[in-house]
Amino acid sequence: MPDWKKVRDDFPALHQQVNGKPLVYLDNAATTQRPRIVIDALSRFYERDNANVHRGLHALSMRATDAFEGARARVAKFINAAAPEEIIFTRGTTESINLVANTWAVANLKKGDVILLTEMEHHSNLVPWQLAAQRTGAQLRYLPVTGDEGLLDLSQLDRVLTPEVKLFAFTHMSNTLGTINPAAELCARAKKVGAVTVIDGAQSIGHMPVDVRALGCDFYAFSGHKMGASTGIGALYGRRALLDAMPPYQGGGGMITNVEFFESRWKPSPERFEAGTPNFADAVTLGLACDYLDGLGRAEIARHDGQLAQLAYEKLSTLPGIRLLGPKSGRGGLVSFAFNEVHAHDIVTFADEDGIALRGGHHCNQPLMRKLGLTGTTRASFYVYNTEAEIDALVASLRRILKFFSGN
């Protein structure tokens, strides 16, 4: 088991004071902090190996290409893809999902087809499908969420997962509820009706073991910045057979075999989907973040984050008037809650005064919020460096806030 106390030393940003208090960073679902090895690797890359990739035959360019393609192979291994060519580098989860919506969906969907989503989707796994539906004439449909306990209502799955469903996109873990969805089961059910599956892995990728072949999904989208890598890099996993049949995404350098003035031919994946100079330096950090997380052990991380979340859930439930969202047990590493008396933004501002970084608002889940009769929640989300003591600090801070607003 990792020595969790030591893990904190790996993250320079944690060791600072905010408003005169030691920083308690509980906003990991928005973005994690980066370990020292990631930060240093970025400097080192720019100091030594920096050159454009792929089309270069000089030493720096070959080093950069090796590092970039090495990162792709590392990411493939991280999620057990069949080959590096199944990994397309993108800016992050949002772009990965838009890529599928603008390629596979546009080429394969038509009027009468249905895109199935769930009521707990982040805007990034919802709006792209609204746009794709507008463009193709397909319709959206939603698998309901049960209520405050935030589970997918699987009793409704047969009703909504009909043969018209050509694509089923759902989140592996909810960024608001903390729910971990039964992704393998959902993929198996989708396969039965012939629907292609897209998993939004933004919240799962850095927090638990992820094996795309065991999950049986067709696409898996995720962001590097939520797993310790730098910003501006993420990936889309796609099954080779699907990728090879897909039209290109963006046009430009690097994705063609042949360009004439009036027509062009495309390279296979991944190049077909990576027009222009890729974000090669940040891609290298994604490979290193994989190393770092595997060094800790992803099953260990899942246990660590889940235990903190469970503890937070229990301690928070002692606060007067609190409304806690998401499952009572088996949750991922976050807790989200609301009070009638105090708005989430006031809580975040007050907690910040205690050095505690929280997030308040709709968390890009407006439709879910509306369904639950909420305008927003306050969310505390955990990662490998968070501690029980930090949860105590959070609870103490919330008590002070409630006191202030209740006026005594």
């Binding site: 708005h343 933004h345 006031d346 501002t349 608002g361």
Partner: protein, 150 residues
């Protein structure tokens, strides 16, 4: 908590707890909706304009203490004003929340001077005002604090 007590002054906490003129206005002849997409705060402002004056005004919506208190206080200040007067008052209010400088005479609005130390909250304080000014202009489009002129 000194900055925080500046931000959440008694006037604000009071308006947040007991908002004035809250609810729909059945006799309204102007309505505007405002939202702050960054945080999800929402505010509707209802006006009955009589001649060139705001005869009645109310608001509803949801949001943080700053946005709710600001909208509540605003309704108490705008009643009976003309459009140019309302604009002038908003300009003064905007000056207060962005600079922290509150001229003597604008007593209650000065409670919002503490906002200037929390730039991310300025949009909360101005949300209701944006909606009210839009309603006065008879502007049908929702006011959003992401508007360019903020």
């Amino acid at each position: 908590m000194s900055d925080l007590s500046d931000l959440y002054q008694q006037v604000i906490l009071d308006h947040n707890r007991r908002p004035r003129n809250r609810g729909k206005l059945p006799t309204a002849n102007r309505v505007a909706h405002g939202d702050n997409p960054t945080c999800g705060d929402q505010c509707n402002v209802y006006l009955r304009v009589d001649g060139d004056k705001i005869a009645e005004i109310s608001f509803d919506g949801s949001g943080c203490a700053i946005s709710q208190a600001s909208a509540s206080l605003m309704t108490t200040q705008l009643k009976g004003r003309t459009a140019p007067e309302a604009q002038k008052l908003y300009d003064e209010f905007h000056h207060i929340v962005t600079t922290g400088e509150a001229p003597e005479e604008i007593s209650d609005l000065a409670a919002f001077a503490g906002v200037h130390a929390f730039p991310a909250r300025i949009k909360c304080a101005t949300l209701g005002w944006h909606a009210a000014l839009n309603a006065l202009k008879g502007d049908a489009a929702p006011a959003t604090t992401e508007s360019h002129n903020d």
